[in-house]
């Protein structure tokens, strides 16, 4: 009896929880309402089976609980009943599968009016590329990637010259514009996932993957990496800003092209060089520059401060300490941060520029540029 009651209680509480739970899907912000519909269909059909089966079990446990001396029925098989059950189940499965495959068919067919952009993933940050006026992306190769060309675009490919590069973690999209996102990884697997858009897809090094969606609600949305990519996986932050036409055009007009990058960087101060390096080599994935929380020690007002190490000692943050911590991070570990940084290889000049950049982020050095990340 008690067991039967508990089974019934499980059914009631589970169903109530479903309807009362505050943890539901985020408000939809793309065209993939049809995916939500398939989830609802699946919930209804599986919910009916769940309720029916557990209640039947409760009934059996209640009705056929042991009575000493009673014999169970000896009827080892009932072909007719079994085929009935198989048929009903098969019907239900078709009810799940048919709408699912119809919507999936939409998912794999990119509409011809979709515009393309590229999201590039690396440990543990995002950057983006637009094809520019010619609507063609330039060829890329990891062999061409360096501090100046973090996208690895082939300078000899004409199609790449007008590619628009967005080096920060934030990408802008035009509302109600069908959009095909091309996904490229520089190092390991990642996954481009915006919960409000519902759709997601892995980034696979060595190939370009894609999916499409139409953003339908203006606003700012988090991009989450949804494929495990190492110790900084949880911290691989990005954002999509969905703009109305005017805002989008304004944003677009401020972006630089690959040609600008190739020609613009000839005269560059140490600080600017360091800033560029910090962005292109992924330092900023783990070190915040605005005082916000980050995986490693933030760089705002770091230079000249005193850090507590895990052995309890203190160290003054000067150029020597910074350089040592870049090329051999395991030697002096700062308390409160995981020992996850790997050793980086830079030339002496590059190291000097990084130190100069970090110095520039300390408030006592007012002559230097603002502490805001330029790519934002």
């Amino acid at each position: 009896m008690a067991f039967a009651v508990i089974l019934v209680a499980i059914v009631i509480i589970s169903v109530l929880f479903h309807f009362l739970s505050p943890w539901q899907a985020t408000p939809l912000a793309s065209n993939w309402g049809s995916i939500d519909t398939t989830i609802t269909i699946t919930l209804v059909i599986t919910g009916i089976f769940f309720v029916a089966i557990v209640l039947f079990m409760a009934y059996c446990v209640y009705k056929y609980q042991v009575i000493p001396g009673r014999r169970s029925e000896y009827k080892p098989e009932n072909k007719k009943l079994e085929w009935w059950l198989i048929s009903i189940t098969t019907l239900a499965i078709c009810g799940l599968l048919a709408p699912g495959l119809v919507v999936y068919n939409d998912f794999v067919h990119v509409p011809p009016n979709a515009v393309e952009f590229e999201a590039v993933g690396e440990q543990w940050r995002w950057s983006y590329r637009l094809p520019g006026d010619d609507k063609k992306f330039g060829r890329t190769s990891v062999r061409l990637m360096d501090d100046r060309n973090s996208f690895g675009i082939d300078p000899d490919d004409k199609a790449g010259q007008d590619d628009i590069l967005v080096a920060g973690n934030q990408m802008h999209l035009l509302v109600n514009q069908p959009t095909k996102v091309l996904l490229r990884s520089k190092d390991v697997l990642h996954d481009f996932y915006v919960p409000e858009f519902r759709a997601k897809m892995d980034l696979v090094p060595g190939q370009v993957t894609y999916f499409w969606f139409t953003p339908t609600v203006p606003g700012t949305f988090d991009i989450l990496c949804a494929e495990y990519c190492g110790i900084g996986h949880y911290n691989m932050r990005g954002q999509v800003v969905v703009d109305k036409a005017q805002d989008y055009e304004e944003w677009l007009s401020q972006q630089i092209t690959f040609a600008d990058v190739l020609t613009g960087g000839t005269v560059e101060g140490l600080v600017e060089q360091g800033q560029r390096l910090a962005a292109s080599r992924g330092c900023l994935a783990c070190h915040s520059i605005d005082g916000g929380p980050s995986l490693g020690p933030g760089w705002l007002n770091l230079s000249g401060s005193e850090e507590s190490l895990i052995d309890g000692s203190k160290v003054l943050v000067d150029a020597d300490y910074l350089i040592e911590s870049i090329v051999d991070p395991a030697v002096k570990l700062v308390a409160g941060y995981p020992p996850v940084m790997v050793a980086y290889e830079f030339s002496d000049e590059q190291l000097d520029s990084l130190v100069a950049y970090i110095d520039s982020l300390s408030s006592d050095d007012l002559s230097q540029p603002s502490t805001q990340p330029t790519e934002d």
């Binding site: 557990v54 014999r71 009827k75 189940t89 999936y104 989450l224 494929e227 941060y337």
Partner: protein, 585 residues
């Protein structure tokens, strides 16, 4: 039945010393216990790791754990639970103990290979545990070990941990193969007089088909393990594409390999692996339900064919783990169909368990309680599988906590409930004593309701979009309303309670070994051969001078006209009529 004739004439080589009886033993029962004890020990390690992870998720302030340690705990927890606990326990533990006894054999057909199997298993566990003590610690690549990340900087244990993990898996597969060849051959060759395939208990069918799956699926993992070892040690590029190394500032030397190739190989193993765990559980639970409901299993033939069909289909569904992996999206149509088709034979099994209860005479013993809890848990896990198998529904849910909840329900908790039920059921045969009933019931209620409270709400974090394998969620607007954190804290509290309650089970196992009520040979009044051994626990050779002779299937409960409500398989048709035409041809 040539084996059965020979087995009655051959001399039994009784072990003569303590060492040959309990350490270098070739007796399947001792090997089963060795397998089980190692598996339970390493499972406890994985349980502690999961408690640490849950503390980090639920109460990050209260535990000093960095993301490296978190990912290492996550990886080792998953790998240990799936491979080193569940696979080893079902095949090496229950398979070893029950197959020879249930088919009426004296032992496995290759006892020496069987002994090697358990020692290789122990070696694989030692290599695995050794990775906790090497520089850099164990691998934190996630239990799926996806390259390139598994062997590159930025993943914990990329120097030594991953190598030890791969070597350990390779050794484990050697062990599983030696064991598996034994189980299959024993079932095919060593059944006693009258034990036809269609008179075997479903436990034997489940383990038999699961073993065949293991023999066909593990090679895929074996070769991918070796290929990844070559990639990481001598720089081949099987799975390694052209890629950039941020810390070196240049491209790595790899070129042209395919990370997705690894995923195909891994899941070609990994999906059948789910059924390598599930099919033995299906078999065991069928027997528990039939015995404790005092009713013949409903639709025996259908149950057997369902096991076989599920086994075959399990080899053509693997890419449902890869819907968003970047493989050709058109594969999604095929794999969605095959995956949902597999739900039909699986649902049939659930119906038949329920129809076995129907018009039965249900004894709510501890094994029965665990069996019923299994049905509920497996039902939820199976139904949520219909979300994830249906390609377009999977797209938003993939890699979220919905997946974590689903697979813990369906292949974590559900099989573990069967493990507990089966241990409560067969412990009397193994030790001659009953486990303590009161402690058993307390353990049951905490485990069943606790795990339901952990995993049922967890699905809703997945609907919310909370990605799995996150060390922390600070600063994400979408997934970090305070309520999500409060649910996480609740789940952690339940997980800790369930984890600690397993001490009840351990205590019961030890306490009852010394103080348990003597059970006699057949405390549950069951029909299958293992309950009919001349001694309990069975002695070396199991059966005394002559092997049992089987006249009927293993499910004759409540036979009309019989004096007792159960009719052992050795009872002849003259004593109690045989109704085999009703259920067998």
């Amino acid at each position: 039945m040539a084996y059965a004739d020979d087995a009655e004439h051959e001399e039994l080589h009784e072990p003569t010393s303590f060492i040959s009886k309990y350490v270098w033993s070739q007796d399947h029962k001792v090997i089963a216990i060795q397998y089980s004890l190692i598996a339970i020990f390493v499972g406890l390690v994985a349980l502690v790791l999961s408690a640490m992870m849950r503390m980090q998720i639920g109460f990050p302030e209260s535990i000093d754990m960095d993301s490296t340690e978190y990912y290492q705990a996550m990886t080792m927890h998953g790998m240990i639970m799936v491979i080193y606990l569940l696979t080893a326990l079902f095949l090496g533990g229950f398979g070893n103990y029950l197959i020879p006894l249930m088919v009426g054999a004296r032992d496995m057909v290759f006892p020496f290979v069987n002994m090697l199997s358990v020692w290789f298993y122990l070696l694989s566990v030692l290599v695995l545990l050794a990775s906790f003590f090497v520089p850099g610690g164990p691998t934190g690549a996630g239990w799926t070990l996806y390259p390139p990340q598994a062997i590159t900087q930025g993943t914990p244990g990329a120097e030594w941990g991953i190598i030890l993990m791969l070597v350990s898996l390779i050794i484990f597969i050697v062990a599983a193969t030696m064991g598996g060849l034994n189980y299959v051959t024993t079932v095919l060759q060593a059944r006693t007089h009258g034990m036809t395939m269609f008179r075997m208990p479903l436990t034997v069918w489940g383990i038999f088909v699961a073993t065949i799956l293991a023999l066909l699926a593990f090679p895929a993992l074996f070769v991918s393990g070796i290929m990844m070892l070559l990639d990481t040690t001598i720089g081949t590029s099987f799975f390694m594409p052209d890629m950039f190394s941020p810390n070196q500032g240049t491209a790595l030397d790899y070129t042209g390999g395919s990370p997705i190739l690894f995923q195909h190989l891994f899941w070609f193993f990994g999906h059948p692996e789910v059924y390598i765990v599930a099919l033995p559980a299906f078999g065991l639970v069928s027997d528990l339900i039939s015995v404790h409901a005092r009713r013949s299993i409903f639709g025996y033939r259908m149950m057997v064919w369902a096991i076989v069909v599920i086994g075959v289909l399990s080899f053509v569904v693997w890419a449902h783990h890869m819907y968003v992996s970047g493989m050709n999206p058109y594969f999604g149509f095929f794999f969605a169909v095959t995956t949902l088709v597999i739900a039909v034979p699986t649902a049939l099994k659930v119906y038949n368990w329920l129809l076995t209860l129907w018009r039965g005479n249900i004894h709510l013993t501890v094994p029965m309680l665990f069996s019923l809890a299994f049905i509920v848990t497996f039902l939820v896990g199976g139904l949520t599988g219909l979300f994830l198998g249906n390609v377009v529904v999977d797209i938003p849910l993939s890699d979220t906590y919905f997946v974590v909840a689903h697979f813990h329900m369906v292949m974590g908790v559900a099989p573990v409930l069967v493990v507990f039920g089966s241990i409560y059921h067969w412990y009397p045969k193994i030790t001659g004593r009953m486990l303590h009933d009161g402690i058993g019931k307390l353990h049951f209620w905490i485990t069943f309701l606790g795990t339901y409270l952990i995993y049922f709400p967890m699905h809703y974090l997945g609907f919310l979009g909370m990605p799995r394998r996150y060390y922390a969620w600070e600063g994400y607007q979408v997934i970090n309303p305070e309520s999500a954190q409060s649910l996480n804290a609740f789940i952690t509290v339940m997980a800790i309670i369930v984890g600690i309650s397993q001490l009840l089970f351990l205590f019961n196992m030890v306490y009852s070994y010394f103080k348990g009520k003597p059970s006699g040979g057949n405390p549950w009044k069951a029909t299958s051969l293992e309950w009919l051994t001349p001694e309990t626990p069975p002695k070396h050779g199991n059966w005394g001078p002559s092997l049992p002779v089987v006249h009927r299937w293993a499910y004759d409960y409540g036979v009309p006209g019989a004096a007792l409500d159960y009719t052992p398989q050795t009872t002849s048709g003259e004593e109690v009529p045989i109704h085999e035409s009703d259920h067998n041809e």
